[in-house]
């Protein structure tokens, strides 16, 4: 925890150093755009839940520069991301990969929607069927017909 605090302090002092500084940018706009899109989905390790694109932390700055170097050298997006996951693990991905460990995460919402949808469909069906369960007696039917006629008239 202390370790983290040391970094938190450092992070705080650096905070308004803002993300993405002019000097970091690549000359090629297409490459720069790729770099920004990629860094937006990579987690800043020291600041929790912020991407390196948004973070002012020094490590995030270093990683942005590194990512741009890889891209400028001709890395594909996947290669550039692999460079970081090799060192920091899958934790840096703000969008976890779809793999057995994350099946529940990715398919859970669909499963919940299907279950909730089916459940409510059964419920709605039951609500609708109930009146048919108790058909009107001949007497009631006659009275209803009479009332309907009055209503129309």
């Amino acid at each position: 925890m202390k370790h983290f605090l040391a970094f938190a302090l450092l992070f705080a002092t650096m905070m308004p150093a803002l993300a993405v500084e002019p000097a970091e940018r690549l000359a090629d706009p297409a490459q720069e755009q790729r770099a920004r899109a990629l860094s937006g989905e990579l987690r800043c390790l020291v600041c929790q839940n912020e991407s390196i694109d948004e973070s002012g932390a020094p490590l995030a700055h270093d990683l942005r520069v590194l990512l741009r170097e890889r891209i400028a050298q001709g890395d594909s997006d996947a290669q550039a991301v692999k460079f970081l996951t090799d060192r920091y693990g899958e934790f840096v991905l703000l969008r976890p990969r779809i793999e057995p460990a994350t099946y529940v995460l990715w398919f859970g919402p669909i499963a919940v929607l299907l279950i909730a949808g089916t459940g409510s469909a059964i419920y709605l069906r039951k609500r609708r069927l109930q009146p048919e369960a108790a058909p009107l007696s001949a007497d009631e039917q006659a009275r209803l017909d009479r009332l309907m006629k009055e209503g129309e008239g």
Binding site: T13, L18, E21, P22, E41, L124
Partner: protein
């Protein structure tokens, strides 16, 4: 001495809460009026005592009484008065005291405003409130006591995190807690109904105002937090899907579902056990949020200091409150079958759809928030679940919600005619089509999803207007007649329309963020930065002393078409005590778009990095939230909540004659 008075008041409040949780419950079971009435006096006295304790703590902060540990840890004599006061709830102990203060406020409100409730129900509701009070008061007294002394008293305090010294963040927690804790009342009503084994339209009518009040406060609280992030973080992000943000968002989603399902209970006597379940889950999610934030199981920017004993204590409270209520639910709810009969295509059906989607959305947020923790606990891989996950799962769920919001209110109860409802939305349909086509034409087919988002907002907004027009028969009967109808529409109906329009306004603000322009450059005095047709002339920075900081203050002239239209002063503040720098952005808003400027690192030639943005429609995100809350308040002021049980409520405007 005064501090001990506060401490003593808190202990006494805990004792009273214990009394309040037992005596009225026993009285209700024996139908003894005197014992039941104990609940009311206990609830009011409990509130007075906790308010006294809270006032004592505020006083200790204001007078900088550094013999109190909590004051030492979070206060400093040089802090501005506003932040001395708000500093009370900037920390774990003080914010828990605010939590129970609000809890007891709601308890007292039920005691005083509940004259139209049957005495048995009121006694049981107050008893449940009392139990929650016992739990959290003992939690404070045993693990998080803000009144502990330190000896010898230090000369000055350690101060408060500068990030928290901001008006937006100062008032964010009180609203948030009003929402979180406000849902304790609906929870208590649900548990009381389970004990009595009876839920009917009258019950729904009593519960709904409390749910509305809590929901409005939570809406404002969440919006304030998001607005704070927007103007503080220097690049205009306003939502991060951070675990703590999600902890406040989940009760909001389920609470929204609850507001809608309670309507079905009230009008149609259906969805009863489901509504009870939603009431329990809404408050349970508030409690889970409290656990996540205060136990240290998750890491988050917002998390409070970690203490395993606190986590264990809150977990015990969770098991008692949530486990207990859900067990009671499993036993009692099966006998609460609803009576209403309706076709799938009907107002009821639309509200069921609303509930399916909102609860699925809440489950998605729950899964995304807790998944890293679950994997970690079973020694699985460490993963992060960030905004890309939620954009791919949560956002698609909101699309059908938005589509249905416009059509649902046009369906009749029992059996609706979808085709007729859609026909009445022709104007909204063409407005949507126009917005999408014009948007695609102007933006060159680029951010297609954002344009469709704007279309969706148009659909919801104009759809809500169409529904209102339908109710007053606008253009179909003489104007004066429409006017008369408009005046006589119930406030609850206007509340719904305004809240739905607010939803539309927020969607538009969110969708339009794809159109922002960004410029980040190093500028020197006399140089100009151009963004979206504005020329920002940087005139340099100067040192300006603040009460407990020194600021680098930039002066930037904003020019458009040669004329100076504004002067902006973004700052970087260096807090000497904490050795921390925070940024203060400068925003010029005309409510249609924001010009947003943040000051970055200086260079050694008097220059600085500037981040400038033009963000179209972004203020609408929060304006929409304010509309939603206003709609809720307007609905809350509807007469029908105030009149007695027997009063017949208006049947919603009957839907249009055949042959139209």
């Amino acid at each position: 001495m005064i501090v001990e008075l506060g401490h003593f008041a808190l202990i006494l409040a805990a004792c009273l809460a214990l009394l309040q949780s037992i005596v009225p419950l026993y009285g209700a079971s024996k139908n003894h009026a005197g014992l039941m009435a104990v609940g009311q006096s206990a609830a009011v006295a409990q509130f007075v005592l906790i308010a006294l304790a809270f006032a004592v703590l505020v006083n200790a902060y204001v007078t900088s009484d550094f013999s109190v540990v909590n004051v030492v840890e979070n206060n400093h004599s040089a802090k501005p008065m506003l932040y001395k006061i708000t500093g009370v709830w900037s920390n774990h102990e003080g914010s828990m005291l605010l939590w129970v203060l609000i809890l007891s406020l709601f308890g007292a409100a039920v005691a005083l405003a509940g004259d139209n409730l049957p005495p048995g129900l009121r006694a049981r509701v107050l008893a449940i409130q009392g139990m929650i009070g016992v739990g959290f008061l003992t939690f404070i007294l045993f693990t998080s006591n803000p009144f502990l002394r330190v000896s010898p008293a230090p000369l000055d305090g350690q101060g408060m995190n500068p990030v928290l010294q901001d008006p937006g963040l100062a008032f964010h927690p009180p609203f948030l807690y009003l929402g979180y804790v406000g849902f304790s009342v609906t929870f208590s009503f649900a548990v009381a109904a389970l004990i009595e084994g009876r839920v009917d339209a009258a019950w729904a009518r009593w519960v709904r105002p409390w749910a509305l009040a809590a929901w409005c406060a939570l809406t404002i609280g969440i919006a304030m937090g998001s607005w704070w992030a927007y103007y503080t973080l220097g690049w205009g992000g306003w939502w991060f899907w951070d675990p703590v943000e999600n902890a406040s968002f989940m009760p909001w989603l389920v609470g929204t579902a609850l507001l809608h399902s309670a309507i079905v209970v009230e009008k149609r006597d259906a969805l009863k056990s489901w509504t009870i379940l939603l009431a329990i889950i809404t408050f349970s999610l508030s409690l889970v949020g409290t656990f996540l934030v205060r136990s240290g199981v998750l890491t988050s920017v917002h998390a409070f200091a970690v203490d395993p004993a606190r986590g264990a204590f809150i977990l015990v409270l969770l098991v008692l409150a949530i486990g207990g209520s859900l067990t009671l639910y499993a036993v009692r709810a099966p006998s609460m079958a609803g009576g209403g009969i309706f076709a799938p295509i009907s107002r009821e059906g639309a509200l069921v759809l609303n509930n399916v989607l909102l609860t699925t959305a809440a489950a998605t947020v729950f899964l995304g928030t807790l998944y890293p923790l679950f994997l970690d606990v079973v020694n699985g891989p460490k993963v992060s679940v960030g905004f890309p996950f939620f954009n791919r799962t949560f956002v698609p769920l909101m699309i059908p919600v938005a589509l249905a919001v416009a059509a649902g209110p046009l369906l009749a109860w029992k059996r609706g005619d979808l085709r007729a409802a859609l026909q009445r939305l022709w104007f909204a349909f063409f407005a949507t089509l126009a917005v999408v086509l014009i948007g695609l034409y102007l933006a060159g087919f680029k951010p297609v999803l954002a344009i469709l988002g704007l279309g969706l907002a148009t659909w919801v907004g104009f759809g809500s207007l169409c529904e209102w027009a339908e109710r007053v028969k606008l253009f179909r009967i003489p104007f004066g007649e429409s006017w008369r109808r408009a005046i006589h529409l119930p406030r609850a109906s206007y509340g719904m329309t305004i809240a739905h329009i607010g939803f539309a306004v927020s969607i538009a603000g969110i969708a339009a963020s794809a159109f922002e322009t960004e410029r980040i450059e190093l500028v020197h005095p006399g140089e100009t930065l151009q963004v979206a047709g504005f020329n920002l002339l940087f005139k340099g920075t100067e040192k300006v002393p603040g009460p407990n900081y020194i600021a680098d203050r930039a002066t930037i002239e904003v020019r458009q078409n040669g004329a100076t239209i504004a002067v902006l002063h973004p700052e970087r503040r260096f807090f000497t005590l904490q050795q921390m720098t925070t940024g203060v952005t400068a925003i010029r808003s005309n409510f249609m778009a924001d010009l947003y400027v943040a000051l970055g690192d200086p260079d050694d030639k008097g220059g600085a990095t500037l981040r400038a943005y033009w963000k179209p429609l972004v203020p609408w995100i929060w304006i929409g939230a304010v509309f939603m809350a206003l709609g809720g308040l307007l609905s809350l002021s509807d007469r029908r909540w105030r009149v007695g049980v027997a009063a017949r409520r208006r049947v919603p405007a009957a839907h249009p004659a055949p042959g139209e």
